[in-house]
Symmetry: C2
Subunit: 304 residues, 2 copies
């Protein structure tokens, strides 16, 4: 049986580790807060009290943590002895599901190779619902052989799994994903504020918009949040803000000019500055209402 | 048998009139260029040589023309004698499928009512493919009774048909639709230019983006245009430019601030200024390439 060490059992990593248990993998989980480890053990996995313990016997190390420095620390360790690189078996396949900077992924993949490991960057899209339903989109960068070797792991947690290029390519596509998603949310928010201002039946409007060329996953999944002014995460604005930092700086590096990406990055920053960082990214609507002189805490007319 | 006069047999109106023939309506078509009328006659409809001739015996008058002044002229006439208002039977139901200014629709609906007619604003989304496949989304403003009376006509040409409010509401929702579509296209264009710059497998990237929260009708229908640099309309940039003029001025009237809408309206204007007005709106990619110092006429690396 293949043993998978799973580092990071949060909103995304927790359900993903559970799906691996259900698919027959021997899963050893590690998380800084013990409660998440206990939940995995209750679901049929094993718990570890350190990264070193988790990865020692693993064939595959899966990582799902928030940001570039977190992945760096999981791999290289905090003191040079307690990371994956110092404790995993030679040849172990490392799958980083986290969304981080493409250049950091490329650097970490090179380090992994030097030390005899194989690394795939495999960021996901589909959110909490995608994680719970094993329906994630997974954009994978790295060697094709390693991608093929990881097929059973990917298929246990994802629905659309695609190899998009060498190391870093997965993160690049994820950055593009976050650009599109942020912008599509902001556009939907502007459209909602617009039709509300004209007293249109907003539920009917979203229905018909969803049936035409304006239709999108964002409209299907976030429209009701906006009409009802309910913004429980979901995917937090502070994390999307981090991701837009990645995409704007990566676009700048490449000399690609992204006007809407730049503006929505500013609007996401404004949401954080206004204290909305802990809300779902659909709360970009609150920023449109603020800009338009409306109270973002008032219910919409259509909801009242 | 219900007689429908159909004014405007272009890319959208032509196939819509054909579906009405197939649904059993007695369709009399008028178009400024005779070739379009001949095509309708070949498909089983009748031809008229003037608006007056077309509408004289009609129970329903359907209109599909490019812009606000065109609808005004069809209804009120060019010389005060040759429009729908002067020649149609009292009580005729007028269905305006055109996308025009909401305030003009409201004004024309009031004029229609004064003269004993009923008018629905019923702009559509779904493009040429939606028109050909009778799969349009139709956003309808006007009296509920008139909406119900028009059900057979709507169902012959559309799939998602929704009454969204009083006269003008259909045009308001269409304006919101055009805001979302333009923005979603621009965001996809920025994402495509971004992943191309990093040498990612762009076809694989679009596949995995489409499977996650970035998925949209725009991505499904316009992604291949962008990768292949093929921008035959489809929906022309000059028409979308007209629509963004409607949405930005209507938002301004309502005091709703739409930052991404404003930027994409400028980018659409730039596309017109650069001679791309006759291309499909997916050619917004050419603007991203120009802004990024690339030759928009070069094939993409992935296509070469």
């Amino acid at each position: 049986m293949t043993t998978v060490a799973f580092i990071g059992l949060g909103i995304m990593g927790g359900p993903m580790a559970g799906h691996l248990v259900n698919a027959g993998f021997d899963v050893v989980g590690y998380n800084r807060s013990q409660a998440k480890v206990d939940a995995l053990v209750a679901a049929g996995g094993k718990g570890a009290t350190s990264i070193a313990d988790a990865v020692r016997e693993a064939d595959v190390v899966a990582i799902m943590v928030p940001d570039s420095p977190d992945v760096r620390q999981v791999l290289a360790g905090s003191d040079g002895t307690d990371g994956v690189f110092q404790n995993a078996k030679p040849g172990t396949l490392i799958i980083d599901f986290s969304s981080i900077r493409p250049d950091v992924t490329t650097e970490l993949a090179a380090q992994a190779k030097e030390q005899g490991f194989r690394l795939l960057d495999a960021p996901v899209s589909g959110g909490e619902a995608g994680a719970k339903n094993a329906a994630l989109s997974i954009m994978v960068g790295g060697e094709k052989d390693d991608f093929d070797a990881a097929a059973d792991v990917f298929n246990a947690v994802g629905k659309t799994v695609v190899h998009v290029g060498p190391n870093g390519a997965g993160q690049t596509v994820k950055a593009a994903n976050q650009l599109i998603v942020a912008g599509n949310i902001q556009l939907l928010a502007e459209a909602v504020a617009f039709v509300e201002a004209y007293g249109v039946d907003t539920e009917a409007a979203l229905k018909v918009l969803g049936g035409g060329l304006a239709g999108s996953k964002v409209l299907d999944q976030k429209g009701a949040n906006m009409l009802g002014r309910t913004f429980n995460p979901g995917f937090r604005i502070e994390l999307h803000h981090k991701d837009l930092g990645i995409v704007t700086s990566a676009a700048r590096e490449a000399g690609v000019v992204i006007p809407l990406g730049a503006v929505v990055a500013q609007l996401m920053a404004s949401a954080v500055a206004n204290g909305d960082g802990g809300l779902d990214h659909s709360a970009l609507l609150r920023g449109v209402l603020r800009l338009s002189g409306q109270n973002p805490d008032s219910p919409s007319d259509s909801a009242s």
